[in-house]
Symmetry: C2
Subunit: 427 residues, 2 copies
């Protein structure tokens, strides 16, 4: 039985897509030539949507359409089409702040729930590049820049509260995907739920242990409460390495359909977590031990680059603001005030660091024990090997969640990750 | 020049009010008799609105109407009429949680921006009762109950995030009064602004000192940021002793027109602050020293009653919840989980306590150095005497804001307040 959809909605295919694009002169002009010359390829590999790449003689477009159900599950899990609207609004609201760090928004069709953005080529998904052992020297830095800019510029640090409250009200209607996060990220992995899966029976003991671990569950719930109540800035909402496209010289953050106002550490933690799972998965790949070690160290270095660049830019961007309703500029114009504000900024960044560690722990756990797993672990065929690496990741995740105070700085996190993998080598 | 108003809006007077009420059968029936029998009295003594008490042979009504400007200033400070809508929505949303602790909502007229609630008689404004030295044994306890219930029941501790986000989106449009708070409470008193006033020249030195005090300004700004970003629960938004009506046996919280989602400590701090200003003002009244001392001690005891009752009830009400999206019940069903959740609740209450102290400091400062002053100080004619008492209040406020960690519990706050007034007696 088909999931009911509103009038005017039809699932796109190649023919329908070409007919539609041909009816839009600006878009047709970008592609160039005639519709018969356009090549369409469906490439969606995420959990939710259709994604088409369209290439014409003079240019390309990428078209993303919501399906009325979760693609990876099928019609048995209906999912409102409106998620395309929130992705479109996020691209529209953040575009001027992150030019060159996100795809250019070209068109939105409210009836088709379809977004048209620039075609990114020769980009690929960062996660796949990392699985292949490719180094992208600027990727982590670019994502950090993206988070710093959106975190400051969409907040009451930079804007009037009226502007921020109005925008937050729009994104607070992103119920369907926020519910996915509330349940799949913050609840399901910590109790018995049919959507969960894990490498079994290898990790069964750890799953049982986690579900008995009140400190762990409490830390997860505390962050879940923060996720639902702290409206610090407009978040991407799903900032893993599958939401980043890279070429050798360019990095773009894509897919902000989970967008909502929330704690900045949620985006930061998601990206850190996925760099860490890439690191822990290294021993699952057929490379020389030297290659594995060197690439693993490069991945860890990118964790540091990511955090440090974020911290530096957040500091700079905040202190350059004068128009926000929070920390009103009129109170801090004297030299003593400027100094005090600079110290406060460092304190806020320290607090964002603690949040980041916690949310990173949450993200690792849900990617190993919950519904949506990470390809870098999933593509390790040997279940014993995979489980051993997942166990390392979970051990770090638990410490990040339960004992974040153990980590004085990002180097402490990196050292802990390294120690966990070396334990294994030594064993 | 009159401030422009929408079609259908007309400032009410006695005749218009009677004609209107006569057209509403349910309301006319409450009043009983004929319109010619109804008595109308305009009693608004706040800063913003018209308030009419209407009495008929069989019952009474209270009608509150927004004016298109700030009443206490006049048409030179226009103020959107929509504040009546937010007060109405707050009464409607919280009514079932605080039956008997707030006036019953009877009617709302969207075109007139007028709310009709039950007539509270023989109630009077708590602030005026306190100025007269009257003891209301249950008032602080009832207000604590009101805050505990609204804090838990309107939050993601008790409700789905969809319900909470939808409600928060409505109240996030309460721009005009939220702007009043953002500026008059969190910004103006800390820099040179024409809306400020204080007992001058007596307090000029302290005003200059505060505006140079980076730690103080930073603490104020940090709480201002929390006020604008932390959506913990639906707040009253202006919970001072002028927003509470009391009789010997009944207490009602009125006037939630500043309603918004925000940090619970903001409401708690406002009430604590106004009990403390009542305490500090005691030596300004012509009573025997014994009477002053005894009444002052009673006021301080109510600070403790207020906090302790809130803490106890917040704990009970939270732990009785099973339907909220935060701290999902499914994670904490085992005995260890129950114990952990109980400890977490105590930690959250400790954090609310710290917030309460900070927001109390903010409220005291803005009531002494900002735009809207407290009658208990204002009615002390002797400026030197008044300034001396205000100085005590400001000294405590500064400590609450800058060094909240000094206060292990509410008794510590009370001891500090007592010590400040005894210093003066000794001097």
């Amino acid at each position: 039985m088909a999931v009911p959809t509103p009038d005017g909605y039809q699932i796109l295919n190649s023919d329908r897509l070409i007919t539609w694009l041909a009816s839009l002169p600006d878009l047709a002009a970008r592609l160039g030539g005639k519709p018969a010359d356009w090549q369409v390829e469906e490439v969606g590999d995420g959990n939710l949507n259709l994604v088409f790449l369209v290439r014409g003689p003079t240019g390309g477009l990428c078209v993303k359409q919501s399906l009325p159900y979760v693609r990876v599950v099928g019609e048995s899990w209906p999912m409102p089409l409106e998620r395309a609207f929130f992705e479109y609004r996020h691209l529209a609201e953040t575009g001027r702040h992150v030019t060159g760090l996100a795809p250019e928004l070209i068109h939105y069709d409210a009836a088709k729930f379809a977004i048209v953005v620039e075609l990114l080529a020769p980009h690929r998904i960062l996660r796949r590049g990392l699985i292949d052992g490719v180094r992208y020297p600027d990727a982590a830095l670019a994502v950090a820049e993206y988070v710093a800019r959106t975190a400051v510029q969409t907040s009451v640090l930079a804007e009037s509260f009226e502007t921020v409250f109005n925008r937050a009200a729009v994104f607070s209607r992103n119920h369907a995907l926020t519910r996915v996060t509330a349940e799949l990220v913050f609840a399901d992995p910590y109790h018995d739920h049919p959507r969960n899966s894990w490498t079994s029976p290898q990790l069964d003991d750890l799953v049982a242990e986690f579900r008995q671990d009140s400190r762990l569950k409490l830390a997860a719930a505390r962050l879940g409460h923060a996720f639902l109540t702290r409206r610090e800035a407009l978040l991407h909402g799903d900032l893993h390495t599958g939401s980043v496209m890279v070429s050798d010289v360019d990095t773009r953050v894509i897919d902000p359909e989970f967008a909502l106002y929330g704690p900045v550490g949620f985006d930061l933690g998601a990206f850190v977590a996925n760099l860490l799972t890439a690191y822990f998965s290294q021993a699952g790949y057929v490379r020389s031990e030297d290659e594995q070690a060197a690439y693993g160290e490069w991945l860890l270095s990118q964790v540091a680059v990511f955090w440090q660049h974020f911290a530096q830019r957040y500091d700079q961007l905040w202190q350059a603001q004068t128009g926000g309703d929070a920390y009103p500029a009129a109170l801090f114009q004297d030299p003593a005030g400027q100094t005090a504000l600079a110290l406060e900024c460092q304190q806020v960044i320290a607090s964002l660091f603690a949040d980041t560690l916690g949310f990173a722990g949450i993200e690792i756990i849900r990617r190993v024990l919950g519904f949506a797993h990470n390809l870098e672990f999933e593509s390790i065929a040997d279940a014993d090997l995979r489980a051993g690496l997942e166990r390392q990741a979970l051990a770090l995740a638990r410490r990040l969640l339960v004992e974040p105070g153990q980590f004085a700085d990002i180097d402490g996190v990196i050292a802990a990750a390294r120690a966990l993998t070396q334990d294994r080598v030594a064993a």
